[in-house]
Symmetry: C2
Subunit: 423 residues, 2 copies
């Protein structure tokens, strides 16, 4: 008799945690991802800003499960999910399942302006990050050998759109790159003249935090030389140019989009209810209504938990959801038939807090009623992110990089690759 | 009065050493390279075989010279060298010089079969290395989800053409990758069944060494599962297929060319004498006959030194040549006019020996009349390469990677990137 098949789509935090939590279950697990690596997304902005190298924030999915014998990994693209037939179509053939966990994450969203993508790439994958890093570093190289002052100014201008955690982190990291890391490297340009804009439509940065933390963040960024523009809507985005609704136009060689995410298109073809961002509406046990054998976990799920809290799109939430789906599956396999979906374990999000880093020694953090900013928040951020990183090697290597960067104000990862093969 | 202009083409070992040796000279140095990084070429095979990550063997050229105020760096492609007009044309404008040092290195050479390049890439740049790594790792991913036994066999076959140090190192590293590193990662394929071929036209591997070291190398590789084919000429190379003159055909998903190098085409347009590989024939002071202000250093030079020794295409030789050119320039600037080219300092190659690594704890080395093999040679190789690596961060990071790889038999760098953007 063959074991029940648990099919997990996506090797992000939700998918990985779900598979790990089933390590001792009598099931046959298959994890499908189009990449061969699990990505530590919270540090992706550091790769984009040349602070960390690729292998320090990524881990081969296969090596995570090398010794978990009930799990296998397939590197394929999911093309269609057929809930009725209990079958998932992939670039490498069809996969049937007894339990399905959809944990495909979200992608950069342009609120209907998909044509903006080519002028303002988002930051969701390693390839996004290395492309942004390459373009930023190349812009300084070109500025160094440019005699036209207008063009040079444009080459040395970067616009980050979106004042959430990713936008704040990117703007801070780009400012540090220009003002400290690259300072002695050029002879003709002064990288301290580089202009970094952070554009946010809401009246404050980091809208999920209280106003005082937002103010702290704004002041810290401005001290670092970032021009913060809140309450500014983007009207038009074309190659190297951002036009704001207020009439202002910014010419910038590099424009990064960090203003929103949406679920991949595949969710709209499921035939089930989704929210306006394409996230799948789930029951409090994380299953899709009418399909008790299908769970949705991580950022791709729209979940109101047992306590009535909307579960946020954060790492810890994704990990908790992945583990919850695994528990429900395992308990159900152990329980006697007939299965009783009514009495399933309900998901309850445990909010450990959240944080955003701004730069060297500067961060903001919230946990329950506690609020932190400055060096203490930054130390918390450092500690928590190191603890979460998957795998020993990464932890040690990232720690060394950071320590070194902190002491020496140099960045080890600013190598431009792919100029010939990719452009 | 402006300072004498020293223009250095290429930021490899020769170019970097030349510029560094002039750090206290009253000259205006410009280093031009089409990449933004200096590359530690002897370890490039480790990136291609997923043993090391990119930033561990590359260093931004700008950061090497950040504090050498008489040097500036331009990231441009050299398009033409006009010796008569004392002018170098680049993608970013023309550069005049008083002294020129041509240190552009060599590229992969196909002995007139340039159409083989697309089926059997060489290994000279970081982009080459990451492409090879991606293709090798993807082949195993595809094999894991492949039901056709013939195709699976082909996907798990790699051919390395050329039995010099690079070919030996690649074949050994690919064998270790399959047999040890990836062993537990797959469920459907057994990576120990992967086939690695090493094809060499000469009757022995590592032709520059004595027969006993070549025999040791062959035995060590065969023990590791590599099929060594010496005395085998490649007749035809097409996509995924190598035909040998002896009639044998090998079907292989990945074919790597490590059989030869040649100078870039730009040397043939100089109007001066070159050897059949396009290397520029130089005087014993490393200048071009008739152009005493132009030096050629590193692999791109064909040099017979003061002692009548043909200088080999090795790192230490390139570094010595770069420093020699710098000394001649500096001495001449300090000496009274008229300049006397007859009495210039002559180059003499100091042969420290050479080595090749085969795998974990296995290498061969020659220094003068001394010969080493096995663990002792490997320790020498490890020590010397670590000492030579540019920059503290790299040394420490590479050492940690190696130590970890040695203890745990895992590789940290096997992340596939660029699948979407580059392919």
């Amino acid at each position: 008799m063959s074991l029940p098949k648990v099919l997990i789509l996506g090797a992000g935090f939700a998918g990985i945690e779900c598979a790990k939590a089933l390590r001792n279950a009598a099931v046959d697990i298959t994890i499908v991802d189009r990449q061969n690596h699990h990505l530590f997304q919270p540090l992706l902005y550091q790769v984009a800003s040349a602070g960390l190298a690729v292998p320090e924030i990524a881990h081969p999915v296969r090596s995570i499960f090398a010794h978990q014998k009930n799990a296998q990994v397939l590197m394929e693209e999911v093309t269609r999910i057929d809930l009725e037939a209990k079958c998932v179509h992939t670039s490498g053939g069809d996969l049937e399942y007894d339990y399905l966990v959809i944990a495909l994450g979200v992608k950069t969203g342009y609120f209907g302006n998909d044509e903006w993508e080519e002028h303002a790439p988002g930051l969701k994958s390693l390839d996004d990050a290395t492309r942004i890093r390459r373009e930023i570093l190349l812009a300084y190289e070109r500025a160094e050998n440019c005699d036209d002052p207008e063009l040079r100014k444009k080459l040395m201008t970067t616009v980050v759109i979106g004042g959430g955690p990713t936008g704040v982190e990117l703007a801070g990291a780009f400012a540090e790159l220009a003002r400290f890391v690259l300072r002695n490297d050029f002879r003709r340009i002064d990288t301290e003249e580089a202009r970094i804009f952070l554009v946010e439509a809401a009246p404050q940065l980091l809208t999920m935090y209280d106003e005082d933390l937002s103010e702290y963040t704004r002041n810290a960024l401005e001290e670092m030389g970032v021009t913060v523009k809140t309450g500014c809507f983007v009207e038009t985005l074309t190659e190297g140019r951002v036009e704001l609704k207020e009439g202002e136009t910014i010419e910038a060689e590099n424009i990064i989009w960090a203003a929103g995410v949406e679920a991949p298109a595949i969710t709209r073809e499921l035939g089930v209810e989704t929210d306006p961002g394409g996230r799948v509406m789930v029951e409090t046990d994380l299953s899709i209504p009418g399909f008790p054998e299908v769970f949705v976990a991580g950022d791709i799920a729209h979940c109101i938990d047992q306590a009535g809290v909307r579960v946020p799109g954060l790492c810890p939430a994704a990990m908790q959801m992945g583990r919850h789906a695994a528990k429900v599956i395992w308990e159900e396999l152990k329980a006697p038939l007939p299965k009783n979906y009514e009495v399933r374990r309900q998901f309850r999000y445990f909010d450990k807090g959240s944080m955003a880093t701004i730069g060297r020694s500067k961060a903001v953090a919230v946990s329950g009623k506690l609020k932190f900013d400055g060096f203490v928040a930054w130390l918390m951020w450092l500690f928590i992110h190191l603890m979460f990183l998957v795998g020993f090697r990464n932890k040690a290597a990232v720690f060394m990089q950071w320590l070194y960067a902190y002491i020496r104000y140099r960045r080890g990862a600013r190598i431009i690759t792919g100029v010939q093969t990719c452009d």
